[in-house]
């Protein structure tokens, strides 16, 4: 589904990703762990196409397309979802309006019919219920006045509504209490644990991986993947720390 080959990227002319390679197949859950400053968030933003994250080498293929050739909104329509570490507040624009416009823009670019208002609300209600988020919150402006945990749950509701092929979730577990962590974990499993979908979890901690079991765990350090293993690698990291394991 996603093949990253020898990816180099800079932010403000500073090299952050230095030859990162990674292959993710449909049906798989991957976790990328690593110390602060290793380039975890940069990887997510670079794949999402954020302005200012400049690819200086390598290639990324996503579902048979050259991902790096696509504009950010085209990447979304192609099936890539990026869950933000810090979801952005957009005053004056309601979640319902924002998501309906987003979903229909995606559908339009895929040559599908737009979803009617009624059908959209039904879908939104379903996904909100899955994440135990009050539907009334989706009538409010995007993320405005939401707590950290509510923002993360709202990200997962958006993921459920947009129904991507690949979800890259950047520290979706940060700022969550234990109950919310379980709800979010269950949500990820319900939406993304399917044979034709894949997940890349970017995280500092093992705890989310208790709920969303990864097939592969990678250690990112110095802008490249320095070690790959199964779920046991996360436990080893938790026990011995990044320095010992990545060395």
């Amino acid at each position: 589904m996603l093949t990253i080959t020898d990816l180099h990227a800079t932010v403000a002319d500073k090299p952050i990703l230095k030859g990162l390679s990674l292959t993710i197949n449909a049906g798989e859950v991957h976790a990328i762990m690593g110390p602060n400053g290793a380039g975890k968030s940069t990887l997510g933003y670079t794949l999402g196409g954020r302005p200012g994250y400049e690819v200086t080498g390598g290639s990324v293929e996503f579902l048979g397309q050259d991902l790096l050739e696509l504009e950010p909104h085209e990447r979304a329509a192609a099936g890539l979802f990026l869950g933000f570490q810090y979801p952005v507040e957009i005053p004056g624009v309601s979640f319902v309006q924002f998501l309906r416009e987003s979903l229909n823009a995606q559908r339009k670019s895929r040559g599908e019919e737009p979803l009617s208002g009624g059908d959209f609300l039904k879908l939104a209600r379903q996904q909100a219920a899955l994440l135990k988020l009050d539907m009334d919150m989706l009538k409010r402006p995007v993320n405005v006045g939401f707590s950290g945990g509510e923002k993360k749950r709202a990200e997962m509701v958006q993921m459920g509504i947009l129904d991507p092929k690949l979800a890259i979730l950047d520290e979706t577990d940060s700022g969550l209490d234990i109950d919310a962590l379980r709800i979010v974990g269950d949500g990820i499993n319900a939406v993304m644990r399917k044979p034709d979908k894949a997940v890349l979890l970017i995280t500092h901690y093992q705890r989310l991986l208790d709920y969303v079991k990864p097939d592969f765990v990678h250690v990112l350090a110095g802008g490249r993947i320095v070690r790959t293993g199964g779920p046991e690698l996360a436990l080893e990291l938790e026990e011995r720390g990044y320095e010992a394991v990545a060395a």
């Binding site: 999402g48 979304a76 957009i90 004056g92 998501l99 416009e101 987003s102």
Partner: protein
């Protein structure tokens, strides 16, 4: 209120950024007076979205405990100027919600002079401007608090969004206070659409022009929140925005 017959020059503070060539044929501008008696309420919605240049001068006097709600959509296809002078009685309340939209090389401007002449009056001004091309959007707003007008509560919230690097916004909120117990706030910002928000929206699938439109609609809408005829104003503002984009 009288007005000089001679056309103002740029040395006149209130006309510093005005399009004097466009103003000349409209000068002198007749002053429209509105008086609201003590305890009464009034409101006015001005929708300037025609093709001709327009200049309005409005003088509002509010009696004790009176209130007035003024909404302005300043979005003609040519020069647009709305000057408002307000004198507030004791405990009176004045609200201004204004949106200005300008493109091409046009100038739009709102000029206010709000006098808190007596105690405990409230004035709230919300002005949102959007300028594209090489257009200019101005806000010159004065709040004056007379001696003895204690308990005054004055607020100016002024924001402008530039769609192009060649557009200009001038914002000059001004306070002149001669009383001691006064609460006056002003916030003023000129900027571009937030890049973080635009990327966030793009990541969910919104093409840039659609994301921009949603954000600008929300930005302009702040001027008309709570207006008596909010729906009609919002619709007119949306249509004006469409012409600009």
């Amino acid at each position: 209120m009288t007005q000089a017959l001679a056309l103002p020059t740029r040395k006149d503070e209130d006309f510093r950024y005005a399009d004097l060539a466009a103003l000349a044929p409209l000068w002198p501008v007749a002053v429209e007076t509105i008086a609201v008696a003590a305890g009464e309420r009034g409101s006015l919605a001005l929708v300037l979205d025609g093709s001709e240049p327009v200049a309005r001068e409005i003088a509002i006097t509010l009696g004790d405990g009176a209130s007035f709600d003024l909404r302005v959509l300043n979005a003609p296809a040519a020069y647009g100027r709305v000057a408002v002078r307000v004198e507030l009685g004791a405990g009176a309340e004045f609200t201004l919600g204004a949106a200005q939209l300008a493109g091409g090389d046009q100038t739009v401007e709102i000029v206010t002079d709000v006098l808190h002449a007596h105690p405990d009056a409230i004035s709230r001004q919300v002005v949102r401007s959007v300028a594209g091309g090489s257009a200019t959007a101005n806000y010159l707003g004065k709040v004056r608090v007379a001696k003895g007008a204690d308990g005054t509560d004055g607020e100016q919230s002024v924001r402008a969004m530039l769609l192009d690097r060649t557009a200009t916004a001038n914002a000059r909120p001004e306070l002149e206070i001669f009383a001691d117990d006064v609460k006056c706030a002003h916030g003023c910002a000129v900027g571009e659409l937030d890049a973080n928000s635009l990327f966030y929206m793009a990541q969910r699938g919104l093409p840039p022009e659609l994301a921009k439109r949603l954000m600008l609609q929300a930005f302009v809408a702040e001027a008309f929140t709570g207006a008596a005829d909010e729906e009609a104003l919002q619709a007119a503002a949306k249509a004006a925005l469409e012409r600009l984009l």
